[in-house]
Subunit: 77 residues, 7 copies
Amino acid sequence: MAEKRPFDILNAALNNSVIVGMKGGYEIRGTMVAFDVHMNIVLEKAEQLVDGQVKKGLGTVLLRGDSVIYISPAFSP
Amino acid sequence: MAEKRPFDILNAALNNSVIVGMKGGYEIRGTMVAFDVHMNIVLEKAEQLVDGQVKKGLGTVLLRGDSVIYISPAFSP
Amino acid sequence: MAEKRPFDILNAALNNSVIVGMKGGYEIRGTMVAFDVHMNIVLEKAEQLVDGQVKKGLGTVLLRGDSVIYISPAFSP
Amino acid sequence: MAEKRPFDILNAALNNSVIVGMKGGYEIRGTMVAFDVHMNIVLEKAEQLVDGQVKKGLGTVLLRGDSVIYISPAFSP
Amino acid sequence: MAEKRPFDILNAALNNSVIVGMKGGYEIRGTMVAFDVHMNIVLEKAEQLVDGQVKKGLGTVLLRGDSVIYISPAFSP
Amino acid sequence: MAEKRPFDILNAALNNSVIVGMKGGYEIRGTMVAFDVHMNIVLEKAEQLVDGQVKKGLGTVLLRGDSVIYISPAFSP
Amino acid sequence: MAEKRPFDILNAALNNSVIVGMKGGYEIRGTMVAFDVHMNIVLEKAEQLVDGQVKKGLGTVLLRGDSVIYISPAFSP
């Protein structure tokens, strides 16, 4: 299990729902359709969450990796 | 779909309306006419938004990639 | 003992419980199943802590190394 | 139009009036007489603006690119 | 004495008690058992201090160099 | 005029009075006697300004380029 | 005088008293016994100052260059 790598969970989560925590306190949920080594991420059907509730719809959104704090598959085991 | 890349949505959004979230809480909407690998972005007919309302017109504006948090096509599927 | 290196404690903590302090005041506890040289970290059964109490479950989460402040094995000697 | 690049608007704005937004909330207007690839910028007849009003004159000023958030030609189409 | 280098005091402090000031206002005291060129530091028997008083025990902790502000041997001459 | 470069105004201001704006809100005035490509700057007879008034004398001071926001010759045309 | 360089004043100040301003508002005075190209600095007999008054003694302390804002010889001409 020592060979497991952080980006493995991004590959596994591709085309599934994730929640992304961003600098500045943004929390965004959507379907992750693309990412790169800088952790730039594209979500579709994205929604901004405040205290776990949907605040507003964002449609498709590109999140800059530099501002990402965490990424969590929405339905993880 | 695994080959999809984050910058693809910038190419697709070229010459269309986008909303850009910036560090410091700025939210700016305009027509994206140029971008580069650093996510430096040029918007035309740009407007600063506060709570989704237009606060003031900015005309043409160059946004420094380093300060970008997210980019969202204004009318995404 | 001079040859001991900081990443040794990450290797030793693999598959065990750790607490990670993040920029922005997040404190997250979970089982560390992966990390890399950038201190990107994957936790399973992760929980966000506030003042040492569980605030909410996060399931699996990828923490961006750039936002990590400290990592502490939960049951250290 | 895909070949348009962000720095093109800096070339076009050379020797014309621009408004520069800086980290820390500074907004500065002046005639841009020089810039480089780091977005270091020199303004002449520069003035600091607060809420769109002139707060004080700065004369010639070198703005460090690292602190630039946006650059907008003052009279853009 | 001009050849003295900053990392010399880390070598001298190895296996001794140090106090580390971190971004975000954390102050942590413990026995430094490892460090690297990025100033990543491992403390054992670590304690978080608030106003010089022990707030809580942390056991073993890896501090990310990027967040370190200062390191002071606890009993310096 | 397109060949004018930002560092030209630093060369021109050498041994003259400048005002330097720093991150954290510091404003410092003094005679610039040295600088390098990182915008590290040495001022002599330096004074910290608050709202344009002298708060205290600093004598000779080295300002770290990384913290510089702007540099303005004190008596610019 | 154009060949004067910022690090010259650090060489000149070696083994003398300096005041160092740090991010986060720390101001520290002590005898500078070592520094490197990253502006990592070691002070001996260091004291933390608040409003110019000694708040507490720190003994020997390594200051991380990344957090340094300015360095001023305590008794400059």
